[in-house]
Symmetry: C2
Subunit: 417 residues, 2 copies
């Protein structure tokens, strides 16, 4: 009869991620080939190896004159090198012939260098008196203002790895290397279920004692944001048989997320229903996390099944810290056993916060800049209030072994995406 889940044996968040991740294959569905530009945000399902040198010829990085560097050694403001101007390289074309010692060829940014040239003197340091010569007022080193053949990417190099989520610059590199398509993991299809006798569809006017579903829409939106495909299976009452039937349908997806009924009270039957649907069943019931403690993490024959708390702020904290990294793994991404991929921000906390060692706390907050410093202002309010999440723009992260935060002290902050 412990409705707040005090009976739960809690597991630290990172440990829970590691326990569950080890039981689920990375990239649950068979890879697909997609257009490279459209692949931004998708996860590579194979290493990308360069088939050729990039660039395939030595290129000038500036407008200027291709030279043999040795012809400019010792040149300076008062002692320029005088070279014979021997035409120019057309942009997107090839040099007419090799560079002769003592001469210079005009090049624009991006031009190929003629054979025999090993550097480019920038136009800013040169003069053309109009008599068929070029005056170079500086000494250039071999390789100066030149990108060598293969300097960007050498043929045979592994440019991007299986499990990497593609960013815009990666798409640029794929284009440069001539990859029109790439092999990626499919977006994971995730079944979403809301539970509770009192929960009604947001389109309905709730009857007395009833409320509209918040977690279903919020979890579906989180999945959309994170590159997964939500399949909302509806709102199921607190009825064991109906829940079992629903979970059977949910297991047709790549993963499932149920919200509500995840604690250890008399109405909380999600853990036992999930546990009965596959092997090994429930792995973690209870996280050392606040809000978000009554969270269920299960593996059902290789598929991730999650039970989120019913309180909306609890459900969203649990989603951000454990569900998101696990779903990234399901989607093929190489992840660590940590809630967040990037380091935290640091800010000063504007009020004292108490905490209990033995659990991680995520305190909703807003951020502002004062005197060149970032300050975090806690948003107070119960975890059942969705408005506290709407007002906040970040979480203050109080670590597992910390017994509170003094006013004005530095805290780790996680900004909402």
């Amino acid at each position: 009869m412990k409705g707040d889940g005090t009976l739960l044996e809690v597991v630290p968040v990172s440990k829970a991620i590691g326990m569950v991740r080890g039981m689920i294959p990375r990239g649950i569905a068979a890879p697909v080939r997609v257009n490279a530009v459209q692949a931004v945000g998708r996860v590579l399902a194979a290493d990308v190896v360069a088939r050729e040198d990039l660039p395939s010829f030595p290129r000038s990085t500036v407008d200027g004159f291709a030279v043999a560097a040795a012809d400019t050694f010792g040149a300076g403001e008062g002692t320029p090198a005088i070279l014979v101007l021997d035409g120019e390289v057309p942009v997107g074309g090839v040099p007419a012939g090799a560079l002769r010692r003592g001469s210079a060829v005009r090049v624009a940014t991006g031009c190929a260098l003629p054979r025999g040239a090993d550097a480019v003197a920038m136009v800013e340091y040169c003069d053309e008196p109009g008599d068929g010569t070029v005056t170079v007022y500086c000494s250039v080193s071999p390789g100066e203002n030149v990108i060598q053949r293969g300097e960007d990417i050498a043929a045979g190099a592994t440019v991007l790895r299986d499990g990497h989520r593609l960013r815009p610059q990666d798409i640029g590199a794929l284009a440069a290397l001539g990859f029109a398509e790439v092999e990626v993991y499919p977006l994971p299809r995730v079944a979403v279920v809301s539970t509770g006798d009192e929960v009604v569809d947001p389109l309905r006017v709730p009857g007395p004692g009833c409320v509209r579903d918040i977690n279903g829409p919020a979890v579906c939106a989180s999945l959309l944001r994170d590159g997964a495909v939500p399949e909302f299976l509806g709102i199921v009452p607190d009825d064991r048989r109906l829940l079992e039937d629903c979970l059977l349908r949910a297991l047709e997806c790549d993963a499932l997320v149920v919200s509500g009924g995840s604690s250890a009270g008399p109405r909380d039957m999600i853990a036992s229903v999930i546990d009965s649907r596959g092997s090994p069943g429930v792995v973690v019931h209870g996280l050392a996390l606040r809000p978000g403690k009554p969270t269920i993490l299960a593996v059902l024959d290789g598929k991730l099944a999650v039970g989120l708390p019913g309180h909306p702020a609890s459900a969203l904290v649990s989603y951000e810290t454990v569900v998101k990294p696990l779903l990234r793994h399901v989607g093929g991404e190489t992840v660590r056993d940590e809630p967040f991929e990037r380091p935290p921000l640091r800010a000063r906390c504007s009020r004292r916060l108490s905490s209990r060692p033995g659990r991680e706390e995520f305190v909703r907050c807003t951020l502002r800049t004062r005197g060149g410093e970032t300050w975090a202002d806690p948003v107070l309010g119960k975890s059942g209030l969705i408005s506290t999440m709407v007002k906040a723009s970040a979480f203050i992260h109080i670590p597992l072994d910390c017994d509170g935060v003094e006013q004005g002290s530095i805290v780790d902050v996680r900004v909402f995406e």
Copy 2:
């Protein structure tokens, strides 16, 4: 003849954003109505005002017993309050009648409280001896373990504002309030053009002296990531007439981004071509930014037109710092005149970096944790190398007035999205 753009009169990034933003309407296209869950990541085109109280009745936040708080005053471990058990409230139903003083009604988490009850005693602090009474071993305050009617959101409150980009929790709040659809700005359609005689389609094998287009695919991917719709118009040679024709087509979109030919050299005709296509024309030509200095920002009859540098790393730095906030404004979002919406990370720089005051520098880097601290390791290499952007995961941001960074000193870091 200054190919690197030394002739450009540079403008600081924030000032440039402000100058251009002031000339473009926020939200260039007419709002559309979309399904609320699908609206995550979209920008609201109207304030959202609550039409009703949330919740519409006082709710218990725990499993326990609804009581009149005054009946428990003074109760404790050794001096419990003994109340008459008067049934229970069904989940999703209504209390049978008002609570009589001296009695208690069983409630589950989320249940409506009967009239006359103003608090809930948690089941953990109660006992049921089985004789029709409830023993309460604690004193509860009025309002304890209760969410009052309208406590989450009060009828008439402005919950979300025009110009706000919707997050998962906002979708939860919309659902709770019964909004099935919301009014959002359309995703901005952005024309993308690559220029240069030497640039060929990534699907082609480049001829001698030619290279595949990097910026077109990378900019299109950036736009897709950022919630815009790229329309790639192709690769245009360095030919004034062809560029003018292409820009005319590009202006059918909500904004346009051209890359290459943005400096002040003899081949650099983008600025004058853009300038001829509308009023007021080029607003900024040259940013106090490295890499990314030869950037053109123009407004053509209310539309944003950008000329990005040809070097890929320069183009991407320019995109991240000025194009992205301006496109957010075009897409209807309320933005500040700053490159980034969130505060920076802080890290220790693992090597000395020199810089020149008078320009902001973004140094590509990787991040690692050592001794509980985040360290930034600069990725060295020319801004023409796309591989430097692929290897990096973040930028070290050296501010405008800084002349360098000592090894081991703390720097601002911007992690790639």
